[in-house]
């Protein structure tokens, strides 16, 4: 796992997915409101993706398409992708989508992600480089984590360039630099 310690990757697996238990599970509290410490066969619960994935591999559960990829969201994205509040659907909309697609066997999720990103990418691009902050603050609340990263990457490099152009304090000479180099051994 190349990005084992990547926080965003971990959090994307935190997202909940609706599952149906094919087998009963004993001795675990999956549903905090239930009085017994077991799960019935056929019980419908929500599990975080990381757990659902493992249970799915053991054919203990089946996974359905999570709410954030519902038909309604798809229609909204088709209508005007740039205005959809993806963050509230899932801050890891894309990553979560990529991970869930093979598990639910739904190839249309991938197509949805790409078409949404294509349109939203343009929006982020124009907002990042040209628009004033006040007009973008509302737009920013709609962005997923990766989209925000993208926006911030653009903003930060532009800001760094402007700062450089204006001058101001030049590179400070580190105190060790003037010193004599010591022999290696």
């Amino acid at each position: 796992m190349a990005n084992y310690y990547n926080i965003d990757d971990i959090l994307a697996e935190e997202e909940f997915v609706p599952v149906v238990f094919h087998k009963a599970a004993n001795g675990v509290v999956i549903d905090p409101s239930s009085e017994t410490n077991s799960v019935e066969q056929g019980a419908k619960v929500e599990l975080p993706l990381w757990l659902a994935q493992e249970l799915y591999l053991r054919q203990a559960i089946s996974i359905s398409v999570p709410a954030c990829f519902s038909q309604r969201t798809r229609l909204e994205i088709q209508a005007d992708a740039a205005c959809v509040d993806l963050k509230s659907r899932s801050p890891y909309f894309y990553e979560f989508g990529c991970k869930i697609a093979p598990l639910v066997g739904d190839k249309t999720i991938e197509i949805l992600l790409l078409s949404a990103f294509k349109i939203r990418y343009k929006e982020i691009l124009t907002k990042a480089y040209t628009a004033v902050f006040t007009t973008t603050s509302k737009f920013l609340t709609l962005l997923t984590k990766e989209e925000t990263n993208l926006y911030e990457a653009a903003q930060a490099s532009m800001a760094a360039f402007k700062k450089w152009r204006m001058g101001g304090p030049r590179l400070q000479r580190a105190s060790v630099l003037g010193r004599k180099r010591k022999p290696l051994d």
């Binding site: 796992m1 310690y5 630099l177 004599k180």
Partner: protein, 209 residues
């Protein structure tokens, strides 16, 4: 061999001239730039670093001599600036390699291809890094896990591969500047064979010389 100029194309002569006129500073700058921009660790430029170190030492001695012999302070300061610039390059080069080692230490250590790219000092550094990081993880987390989950490389004993080791992402995008026109490279579909180390060219600011 009568008309030797005829056997060389203009491009080859250009190449040759750039080759002999290229200083180690240029090479070092190139090495630093490439190292910084590539996701994986590149082969250590041993000969180049050695030469650069020697030149730095020589220049330090020269500057000292100048200072002692009461040379024009202007000239001394100019030599000092040249020295500072080369040292900056060398340090930046070595530093960016250390950063990569810190980031991918376990991966570099277990992959021969990458391990062979390290200098002797870097190997020592990696070994110590791994020891310290391993000890740290062991003490803070791993020793508190159930027996089968105490590996620093594998999530559990049933893991088939080292699934806890961060790896450099090779199928990423790099920005490259072409130094001369190249034959067309087919990046789409035949990614591996394009001679780009399965990495891709994001922006090629075409710059023909």
């Amino acid at each position: 061999m009568a008309s030797s100029a005829g056997e060389w194309s203009a491009e080859q002569i250009d190449d040759y001239e750039t080759l002999i006129s290229t200083t180690d500073v240029e090479l070092l700058k190139k090495a630093w730039r490439n190292e910084k921009a590539s996701p994986e660790i590149l082969p250590f430029e041993e000969a180049l670093v050695k030469r650069a170190k020697e030149q730095i030492q020589l220049m330090e001695e020269t500057v000292d001599d100048f200072e002692e012999s009461g040379h024009d302070p202007l000239i001394v300061s100019l030599y000092q600036m040249d020295l500072d610039r080369v040292q900056f390059l060398l340090r930046s080069y070595l530093r960016v390699r250390l950063q990569k080692i810190e980031k991918f230490m376990f991966y570099i250590w277990k992959t021969d291809m990458y391990r062979n790219r390290l200098s002797i000092e870097e190997e020592k550094f990696t070994e110590r890094c791994i020891r310290d990081m391993g000890k740290h993880l062991e003490e803070t987390v791993l020793s508190k896990m159930p027996d089968n989950y105490q590996s620093v490389l594998k999530q559990s004993v049933i893991s088939e591969e080292d699934d806890m080791v961060p790896e450099p992402q090779l199928d990423t995008f790099v920005v490259a500047k072409c130094e001369r026109t190249t034959r067309p490279l087919y990046l789409d579909g035949s990614r591996q064979s394009a001679g780009f180390n399965s990495r891709q060219v994001a922006i090629r600011t075409l710059f023909t010389v």
